[in-house]
């Protein structure tokens, strides 16, 4: 077959083929002849192709087996087993962590209300407290709760629970009359201190006003004196 370097007719079907082009293509074919692969290499290649044929047939058979509902291949069974084990591990881990949180009382609704109720029950059973003192004790508890709520600015709940426990201990100390009185005094002191502070400041203001009045008076007298002069 004649060849050329004509871009429109590179394989030289027309009569305008140039001799250089023809010679180049001839040299190209001479330099790179189509020779069969050496026997050993060709046999190796064909053997590899046949191995690929067998693998493809096995793959097709295993796929057909899966579609027919026959037992899955060992590799597929292994994959299923691995996936099942992983899912079981995740579920177990979740259950353990949730159980730990439940024991720690971290869920909403697991506060110390029951504990407080239990302590109050103990108080009712073991201590004979006069009504007034009970009111004081109750008031202390309520105030303490309010204070605890006010203090609860992101602190951990365990600390608040400990505070509650301390307050309940104070309530237990109401067996002694002195202690009760001290508690009462504490309340009174708080109130008085607040009131005293407020009154003192007000009184100071009043005194300042009085002073000013006095000064004004003196000025008035002085003015009067001056005027008299």
């Amino acid at each position: 077959m004649r060849r050329s370097l004509d871009p429109d007719d590179p394989i030289g079907s027309s009569s305008s083929a140039d001799p250089d082009g023809e010679r180049f293509v001839e040299d190209l074919r001479t330099a790179f002849p189509a020779q069969p692969a050496p026997h050993g290499i060709a046999d190796d290649h064909v053997a590899a192709m046949m191995a690929a044929v067998e693998l493809a047939a096995e793959g097709a058979a295993s796929q057909a087996g899966g579609a027919d509902g026959r037992p899955a291949s060992p590799r597929r069974r292994t994959m299923r087993h691995r996936i099942t084990v992983r899912i079981a591990a995740v579920v177990t881990g979740l259950l353990l962590s949730m159980g730990g949180l439940a024991i720690a009382g971290a869920f909403p609704g697991s506060d110390d209300a029951d504990d407080q109720q239990a302590v109050v029950t103990d108080l009712d059973e073991n201590v004979d407290i006069p009504d007034a003192i009970e009111d004081v004790a109750d008031d202390q508890g309520e105030d303490a709760d309010e204070l605890a709520d006010a203090d609860d600015q992101g602190e951990n709940e365990d600390a608040d629970e400990n505070e509650d426990a301390d307050e309940n201990d104070d309530a237990d100390e109401t067996e002694d009359a002195d202690d009760q009185g001290e508690d009462g005094d504490d309340q009174g002191e708080d109130v008085e201190e607040n009131d005293a502070d407020d009154q003192g400041e007000d009184e100071g203001d009043v005194e300042e006003n009085d002073d000013q009045q006095g000064e004004d008076t003196d000025d008035g007298i002085e003015d009067g004196g001056d005027s008299q002069d």
Binding site: D27, I41, A52
Partner: protein
């Protein structure tokens, strides 16, 4: 070339008949080896072997005539050569074994080997002036007689781009020859 018997050969290949695959190999492998030697592929025999193994694996997805089958094999082979070239660029070179040197050496006749070596040297000087795509297009067109459309499928470009590559490659070869740099 199989001609009218191509359909039965292809069907036998689909069924995994060794005789059919051996016939296909003996028919196409020499062209593939020549193409890879001309384009300077590092290990043409390995590439051709891998090409046929991949063809066996992918035959279920092929549909076409004998010409399309040849073009499909060239496409697989070119891609495989590119993969091996990338892999080879990442690993250190090793010295060749004696058996490889014997296979890569002369084919028998000393005079024929000498003529072929001289022609190969001159042709390689010309082909080295081309871009890889121009070289592939011209080798597939001039050496393997693939059509523009088949070459477009092999190198994954449009037929228009193949024509442009062919025209620029031929012009480059003509300039090289007319300048006297290469004596054919």
């Amino acid at each position: 070339m199989f001609g009218s018997s191509w359909g039965s050969v292809l069907e036998a290949c689909r069924l995994g008949a060794e005789w059919a695959w051996r016939q296909v190999y003996e028919d196409v492998a020499p062209s593939l080896l020549r193409y890879h030697r001309a384009r300077g592929t590092a290990d043409p025999d390995d590439v051709v072997g891998d090409t046929f193994v991949r063809a066996v694996r992918g035959l279920s997805g092929f549909d076409g005539g004998e010409g399309e089958f040849r073009a499909w094999l060239f496409s697989i082979s070119r891609n495989r050569a590119a993969d091996l070239a990338r892999a080879a660029s990442r690993r250190a070179e090793r010295p060749a074994h004696l058996e490889e040197l014997v296979v890569a050496g002369g084919m028998g006749d000393v005079e024929d080997d000498a003529v072929r070596a001289l022609a190969e040297e001159r042709i390689r000087e010309v082909l080295d002036e081309l871009t890889p795509d121009q070289r592939d297009v011209l080798l597939l067109r001039l050496l393997e007689d693939l059509t523009i459309e088949q070459i477009a499928g092999v190198i994954r470009k449009s037929p228009g781009a193949v024509k442009a590559l062919q025209a620029r490659g031929l012009e480059q070869i003509r300039r090289k020859i007319s300048s006297g740099a290469v004596t054919l």
